[in-house]
């Protein structure tokens, strides 16, 4: 991680290379356009979003019973079930499962939850080597960097940079940067990994309470390669991944890949229900702030998220600041509403890394009112004292002026009060407005002054 810099500072650094910003912005906008085409080709798209949102509302309102039902079915299916209150407990559980089998190497498919838990680091400290098998995550892992996007982990990297990493770590020829050739090299290398790992961990996209099965979606086939070759299969899931019945998968699988990348369905949607003969299956249910989020009526809908990444692709701030600027495993608009629930102080900047344009809420397949939640998090963060006192002081001064017509008028006369206040000069040391923008002209008279003279005549 890049120390204690906030989103604005990291975004400013990202913007030092404007060509790269344009390239990053263009790549993600292209995905947004693919999403639009795909949505437009799907009959009843908006009704599907509505249904998905309503199913998830039901899940949130009945989560306790669904979790019990899911647990019971998992056990009936021969799956061992664990419950983890936080990252530490989650990591301990995984470590125990592996160490009891004397396993010191594991392959892992994409799981944002285990990224958030820093599982790889935890296990590495205890002598267990984990390899991420999703190509993008693998690239991020060998570069010792977190994913910058939940669906496209290395979307911020150029192929030449990936070629350089492969040269260093996989011994490819220097200068090799062709995506197909690089992918072939990774395929060969990771096949050997899959063939030799006794344990494989996957994330969970959907967990069906009714049947005790869980669905893992990938395009690469890496989750299946790991799971079907290993003797110990582990899945980690957040409590909110529940769907009530198998038929509800139809709604979510229609929305997920279309919203994510404009594809009609992920290439692989694998339904794991029972271990194969000779195999063990373990599933860890992780709370990590989720039950606490349920207690926040303004924010609990963020638990509906199915991690499609659509809000990131459409967010102009994300596109022009890069995922790593969010200094959180889950970046972009959804990350900005999930992170403060976990650590408000550390993530106090994220709800402000938005113009509240609202595009995120419109693409969201489960209709989370993301931009409304960003606004509401701002209120909570200020009330709980996580904003600079300087800002609070100027806001109070502004509130006083704007609630008094007399002060406001006097202030306006003496040199256009507004030019010295909102939004130009708050927290202003060097006036960031003027850095790359001219100040608005100051007219001879305000409308109020004009109206006092001319209003009655017109």
């Amino acid at each position: 991680m890049k120390g204690t810099q906030d989103h604005a500072a990291l975004a400013e650094a990202f913007n030092k290379d404007e060509d790269r910003v344009d390239w990053h912005d263009g790549a993600l906008w292209w995905i947004r356009q693919k999403r639009d085409r795909s949505a437009n080709q799907t009959p009843q798209w908006e009704e599907l979003r509505e249904a998905a949102s309503a199913i998830k509302s039901n899940v949130i309102s009945n989560l306790h019973d669904y979790l019990l039902q899911f647990e019971e079915n998992l056990k009936r299916n021969g799956v061992k079930v664990y419950w983890a209150a936080d990252a530490e407990e989650h990591n301990q559980i995984i470590y125990k499962i592996l160490s009891e089998k004397n396993i010191n190497q594991m392959v892992k498919s994409k799981s944002m939850l285990t990224e958030e838990c820093h599982l790889n680091e935890y296990l590495a400290e205890r002598g267990i080597d984990v390899i991420n098998s999703d190509l993008g995550e693998y690239i991020q892992q060998i570069d010792n960097e977190p994913p910058s996007h939940i669906v496209l982990p290395c979307i911020h990297k150029k192929k030449e940079e990936i070629g350089e990493l492969f040269h260093e770590h996989l011994g490819t020829e220097k200068g090799l940067s062709d995506p197909t050739l690089l992918t072939r090299v990774a395929r060969k290398h990771l096949r050997n990994v899959f063939m030799t790992r006794r344990a494989a961990l996957t994330g969970v996209n959907f967990a069906v309470a009714e049947t005790g099965e869980y669905v893992v979606c990938t395009n690469e086939g890496n989750a299946d390669m790991g799971a079907h070759l290993c003797e110990v299969q582990i899945a980690s899931m957040g409590l909110e991944k529940i769907v009530p019945e198998r038929k509800h998968l139809g709604v979510f699988l229609r929305l997920l890949a279309r919203s994510a990348i404009g594809q009609p369905i992920t290439i692989y949607s694998s339904h794991f229900r029972k271990p194969r003969p000779g195999q063990e299956m373990h599933l860890v249910l992780v709370d990590k702030g989720r039950s606490a989020l349920l207690a926040r009526p303004d924010f609990r809908d963020s638990l509906k998220c199915i991690k499609c990444g659509g809000c990131m692709n459409t967010c102009p701030v994300y596109r022009k600041s890069g995922g790593l600027s969010y200094h959180n495993t889950i970046s972009g608009p959804i990350g900005a509403i999930l992170a403060p629930n976990l650590d408000m102080k550390k993530h106090a900047d994220l709800p402000f890394a938005s113009t509240l344009c609202g595009s995120c809420s419109n693409v969201c397949p489960v209709k989370i009112p993301i931009h409304d939640q960003l606004y509401k998090w701002r209120q909570v963060i200020v009330k709980e004292g996580y904003s600079a006192s300087r800002k609070t002081f100027s806001m109070k001064a502004m509130a006083l002026t704007l609630s008094s017509p007399e002060i406001y008028k006097t202030a306006g006369k003496t040199g256009r009060w507004i030019l010295n206040h909102a939004p130009f000069a708050i927290n202003n040391k060097f006036n960031p407005w003027y850095k790359q923008r001219e100040m608005p002209d100051s007219p001879k008279q305000s409308f109020g002054e004009w109206y006092a003279k001319n209003g009655s005549k017109s």
Binding site: K383, R416, N428, R437, Y451
Partner: protein, 248 residues
Amino acid sequence: MKIGLFIPCYVNQLYPNAAIATLELLQKLGADVSYPSKQTCCGQPMANSGYEHLTQSCNDLFIENFSGFDYVVAPSASCVLHIKDHLHSHADEKAAASIRGKIYELVEFLTDVLKIEKLDACFPHKVGLHQSCHGLRGLHLAQMSELVAPDFSKPKQLLNMVQGLELTELDRVDECCGFGGLFCIAEEAVSVKMGKDRITDHTKHGAEYITSPDLSCLMHMEGILQRNNSKVKIIHIAEILNCSSIKA
């Protein structure tokens, strides 16, 4: 029909011509408009920064100024949306609710309440329309590109009534300009980059003017245009709609 004209603080002080155009346009269309002189601001600058709890006296002042009207009209989508979504009062919530229900942004007031079908206006220029996000996704002044739903646009409906005006295209029809209130300062780098990219989209399609129902977006883009010595100008939609054929 008594109309209270709400001129947001920054429009009042920095863009009086847009406010005058709004007043004149409404009067031309036969409306009985007056401007309560004790008005200040909708409170959005504080609220969007997380200080909604400091806006109570601002809200009460707003209610005091505008309770007596049948409609409240303002040439600023963003401020109107803020009032619609966040005007509350401990003292008189009924009055607050009433205002939330009768406040209109100028464009929607013309298309939905006055239901105007023609305008005596002329503006012989190539004009790019900037959809302010609050006007678009908040007030639904036009269809949003993310949704699978029939197309419509209230600002275009009006601009199409203006003689000589040619609307220019955009690659990204409703992308945010990056103003975002305090965002334009707190996130200066991204804000300016977003603004520059919006401007480029307009200029590459030949726009001479960029117009919008929101001056805050335009003020931000104007700052960037002027810094880069661009010939492209910004103009509030009221000024175009009020541009008489004689002047042109």
